[in-house]
Subunit: 428 residues, 2 copies
Amino acid sequence: MTKPLRLGIAGLGTVGVGVLRIVRKQSALLTARTGRAIVISAVSARNRDKDRGVPITGYDWEDNPVELATRDDVDVFVELMGGADGPAKAATEAALKAGKDVVTANKAMLAVHGQALAELAEGAGRVIRYEAAVAGGIPVIKSLMEGLAGNEITRVMGVMNGTCNYILTRMQSSGLSYDEVFEEANKLGYLEADPNLDVGGIDAGHKLSILASIAFGTRVAFDAMELEGIGRITIEDIRQAADMGYRIKLLGVSRMTGRGLEQRMSPCLVPCASPLGQLEGGTNMVVIEGDSVGQIVLRGAGAGEGPTASAVMADVCDIARGLRLPVFGQPAAGLKQATPAVSATPAAFYLRMALQDKPGALAKVAAVLGQNGISINRMRQYDHDETTAPVLIVTHRCVRADLDRAIGAMAETGVVEGEPVALRIEEV
Amino acid sequence: MTKPLRLGIAGLGTVGVGVLRIVRKQSALLTARTGRAIVISAVSARNRDKDRGVPITGYDWEDNPVELATRDDVDVFVELMGGADGPAKAATEAALKAGKDVVTANKAMLAVHGQALAELAEGAGRVIRYEAAVAGGIPVIKSLMEGLAGNEITRVMGVMNGTCNYILTRMQSSGLSYDEVFEEANKLGYLEADPNLDVGGIDAGHKLSILASIAFGTRVAFDAMELEGIGRITIEDIRQAADMGYRIKLLGVSRMTGRGLEQRMSPCLVPCASPLGQLEGGTNMVVIEGDSVGQIVLRGAGAGEGPTASAVMADVCDIARGLRLPVFGQPAAGLKQATPAVSATPAAFYLRMALQDKPGALAKVAAVLGQNGISINRMRQYDHDETTAPVLIVTHRCVRADLDRAIGAMAETGVVEGEPVALRIEEV
């Protein structure tokens, strides 16, 4: 029997407690599967005395996660504090420099500092594993990096923020407004301290940028992502989309094109009969397409104690079993700096706007679309009591840049109130 | 750069040709990902001169797969011939004894000889990898063995025979009879040379027995599987199930219970709104449930050149990257011999029978069910022109053994014609 694998765990929130529970409850199983004992040497968190429902008296305590990360009796530093910078980054760097492997659930840190951390890890002969950083319990990093390693990846898509999917599906089922459901989610504790991380698409964007790096062999480039949150989606959009056979999802899509790397996290329409369209509540789904495999769909809980801790433990087991890979699947030094490409893959778009209720208004809008090469597939104007008329247009396939130019030109017609909402209809 | 990984490929059917294509087309990608070149030293097949659409003149030829498997210039023997015994087994054994790693797509060989082959491999310090043996391109072996290694697995389920799912969904969409769709599938080349491998559930049963071994740490026990094919499913069953909100799927279910290991491959009813219920055509789906992760659903193409070759190449890449594990995830010598347990997890059942059209017949059947502790949730008798009346019963949750006893007793009433069809309604 190989000697035990000794963990140092920093961060004892929901996920950290879940990891403690698995290590305690499943020790026999973990040993049978990995051939060695998995033990916890020490832990660290902000508050030592908080009741977490699981005893921590059996482990050494460190106030400072950097001290924890560099202890002689720690083989693997398990970083569950979160945050792109600050203690998480400092302790991760200290651990790698001290020759420890790192397991983390920290998508923000990897999305922002992934390249530098990977170079540091690989220079020190250490690994960083982060299955828990993307899509909770779904083994998506492993599936993409290892299970589909024989494929040229053609597209990676995903619904990877459970809070946004909860809000959108709850609007659909309840008929409540965005603001009402947002408040409800807030009361249920579903939102991050900074809600814009969720509803602004940042959290999901972090995840997508990590997947894109693995899929396309490029340096993580979160700052090049096109980001659009769900804050402008109205109950009317949800209803209209449903009426046409679609659901609205905060969908991440990344593909490598001749022009460069497309990375987009935005509300999109997807067919309600598709696996993505059928995804309800907080569940996550990742769709990976490869030249040989076709389409693989992975679905599971994207957050929560058990699922996220399951992913952390998968990484710990891999390390215990001696399964070691470069951080992004190939040596960080060889990852290419991708040229960011604005989405130019043609698609149909859903377009909602408020038209001034006066003769010729609709004709002006239609003319502007035509002048910009956008042809109309469907158009509806609704009955209304106000001075502006709600108008909904579904375009034929077009390029987003052309549509944006048309939307810009609409402002000059003087008949459109406010900013139109344009949502891509993603072909899934 | 590490030295090249040299493959010897035996079997140049659909999958073998797919592997050749990936190795030729994606050599730069494979090298970037694994850190070494992946090359083919030699190939073997029944017919050297067949036009396969891809040249094989660049590789040495062996008539005898055993010779291929033991060549000095082969590091990994890729077995794509199929068949539980015969050349596939002989060459696999020879390869392991000669110190080669093995990659195979051969579910029958692993289901029947998995334990002995695993012991042989591990004794020789070699690996056998078989991602392609279960659910085609879906990385299910890797997800279960590695990605969910921190979980006590509570249930593994799957629709893993695309031909059966094609037949059942085609009956649903076309209204054609089983025999008609069977003939159609035969003409389309969807059926194995021995169709019972497909429609008898044997092929899918092989796959489930492999998943059960990994999930529960037990020796593969295909011979202990409860097997039932789809041959008795009528278009009327499909329609009645649909009418109640269900789809009929050839569904494999395995769980470890206090009584022992349940392994069952049989036609079941699943809710049409569930991911399993929505699975159309030849697509496969595996559902894995663990104590921490909850439910993970994996979906993708279960067969075909590209998807199956993708899985073979995932295994080849793992070996090239030095990722090595015991054949079933933990040392074969330590795998327990599971006690086979007849399915005794309670479920509701769908029951169809032909009643003689005479007074009191229905009462007799209902009485027999009650005497055996089976209570009725719904019952319908249909309008008919024949001397027997079609009757459909949905039971409340009960144990299969009780139902079987009731079905036995029905025969003695003298009012039931032929053998009733009983299908489990699986809670998914």
